[in-house]
Amino acid sequence: MLSAMLVFSQLLNGLQYGVLLFLLAAGLTLVFGIMSFVNLAHGALYMMGAYFAALTFKHTESLTLAFAAAVFGSILLGIVLERLAVSKLYSRDHLDHVLVTFGLVLFFNEVVQILWGTQPYFLPVPGWLDSTISIFGVTYPAYRFAIIVVGLLVAVGAHALIHRTRLGMLIRAGSVNPRMVGALGVNIKFLNALLFALGAGLAGLAGVMASPILAIQSGMGDHVLITTLVVIVIGGIGSVSGAFYAALIVGVVDTLGRAFLPLIFRGFMERDLANAAGPAVASMLIYVLMAVVLAMRPHGLFAPNRG
């Protein structure tokens, strides 16, 4: 009975982690899949979002302002980056994208250290969410539950935007044939800038949502960026709904693996070996998953149809 509850609460943890990954992956897949721009700096935008929130909170003590600062700050930063650097690279090789955005990662990681020091910042949980909720007999922090809700709202919003609006239609068309869309009189430059800003805003949102449960520090985006790339590749590049399912799969697999693999290994291995192998395999699990998925279906699980 206890173990069933443990599994359930770990499932919720996995769901919450997955939703957080989705917030990042949704933004990245717009840029990565639709504009075909390899943006390694997406994690840096996530980090900057968290810093904007932390600094705003420090000076105003208002969490509402902090959240707004994270989202709008990163949108603004996204626009500046797009105009100064990214827009000049669309027509170039992927390698140039990697080079420039890799440089940006190094730059931003160091700049936050110069401006705000190496000490980590923290953001408190909003007062009205600082409680626990009981679901099927499992008590669960309300804030983590709120993350799940926000993620689901973004998922619904993104789906509606892409499949129900004119802008979404242009985005879909632009992903298939940007030149043709441009020839039909759509300002493709503006569309790209808008998409990049939207992606940056989602990264900022993910940053601030993660802030109350993680330490805000230089380099916080690097690790999660790689996991996000894994999500996108598993989901199928350019598919927002694919990113959603893949994020949930990765979140749950990673969390359950870390929680239970060492226990499972102990069932049929010597204790010492299991203690060593369990965490090792657990931390490799999502990469194994990605390698298997790519080996089976090179375009990802939910790749968009592009005739």
């Binding site: 790689i226 931390s283 490799m284 990469y287």
Partner: protein
């Protein structure tokens, strides 16, 4: 007169670099400062790794963001035997070459089922697996890494000695540059360079492109492993951070910086990258910010790295031959 001089300078530069590298250890020995000997040994080792990556990426067009895996494997092929008191360099080298070849073959064969961004990501995934594997191997120091008490003994020499590893790295570098120059023009090189541009046509001519690319990937992995092997001896230290994606990124940046697909590009790239790093470190502790910006600017300027820049310089110096110069530069890329 000046034009021929510039033209020759372009060809002379590698000889100047190699001559300079010959002088370094004597100068270091005379002034009793091993810092620069160690620094240039490190530059040469990274240059070897960049040369290795150039085979896969520059010639074969395989954008691998996971070559750090092989650096790490090479380093641990010294560290793990040394941990058990085995300091036979030949045995360690054998472990290095065979593990890199086997892992390179397996990962290469799986990775090559995909192309484009999929390939970038799957190579990254394999490197991350290696990274997390060694992080969790607490016996060998986990994420702190492990220091190597018994560095490799080969031919009665101790590779842990800074001058010895310098000389070995120098020889390996020259050999690998020479080998790559030969390979580039060989049928094998032609096939993989052709496969980068149009794999279907290469197949149609009768060369199984994928098999050749796997071959290139394995050779590249082994050479990269040897760089890791030398680095472990130089530092007397191996750590999983050698396998982190940042190192893979560094290697790619070196290569793009120097000029992909050219014989000397990786060499220039490693020198420019590590040299810039060292100079900026002297200026400020926050050198990474400047370094990052420098990479962004270089990336935005595009072109074909330092090699492309030097080609432009050469053609620019030849009066009235600007157009021909650029044409020859592109021709070089295509031929």
């Amino acid at each position: 007169m000046t034009n021929t001089f510039k033209l020759n300078f372009n060809r002379l530069l590698p000889f100047i670099i190699f001559a300079g590298l010959v002088v370094v250890p004597f100068w270091g020995y005379a002034t009793d400062s091993s810092f620069y000997v160690a620094f240039f040994a490190r530059v040469m080792i990274y240059a070897i790794a960049a040369v290795a990556l150039n085979l896969a990426l520059g010639y074969g067009g395989l954008i691998s963001l996971g070559h750090a895996l092989f650096m790490g494997l090479g380093a641990y092929s010294v560290a793990i035997p040394a941990f058990y008191g085995i300091d036979n360099g030949w045995l360690q080298l054998l472990i290095c070459i065979s593990s890199c070849a086997v892992i390179g073959y397996i990962t290469g064969a799986i990775s090559l089922r995909t192309t484009g961004i999929g390939f970038i990501m799957i190579t990254l995934a394999f490197a991350q697996m290696g990274y997390f594997l060694f992080v969790s191997l607490k016996v060998y120091g986990g994420d702190d890494g492990t220091s190597i008490a018994n560095t490799s003994q080969m031919l009665g020499l101790n590779l842990g000695d800074i001058y010895t590893v310098y000389v070995v790295a120098f020889l390996v570098l020259i050999l690998s540059v020479w080998w790559m120059a030969r390979l580039r023009a060989s049928p094998f090189g032609m096939v993989i360079r052709g496969a980068r541009q149009n794999a279907r046509r290469v197949n149609a001519i009768g060369f199984p492109a994928r098999r050749y690319l796997i071959g290139a990937y394995v050779l590249s992995a082994v050479l990269c492993g040897i760089a890791g092997f030398l680095l472990a001896n130089l530092n007397a230290f191996a750590s999983p951070s050698l396998m982190s994606w940042i190192i893979s990124g560094d290697l790619v940046v070196m290569l793009v910086l120097g000029g992909m697909g050219s014989v000397l590009g990786p060499l220039y790239g490693a020198f420019a990258f590590l040299g810039l790093e060292e100079i900026l470190k002297m200026i400020t502790t926050h050198w990474l910010a400047l370094f990052g910006l420098a990479i962004v600017f270089i990336g935005l300027m595009g072109k074909k790295g330092i090699v492309g820049f030097m080609d432009d310089l050469t053609s620019w110096c030849r009066p009235g031959a600007g157009k021909n110069g650029t044409a020859s530069a592109t021709e070089k890329e295509a031929s």
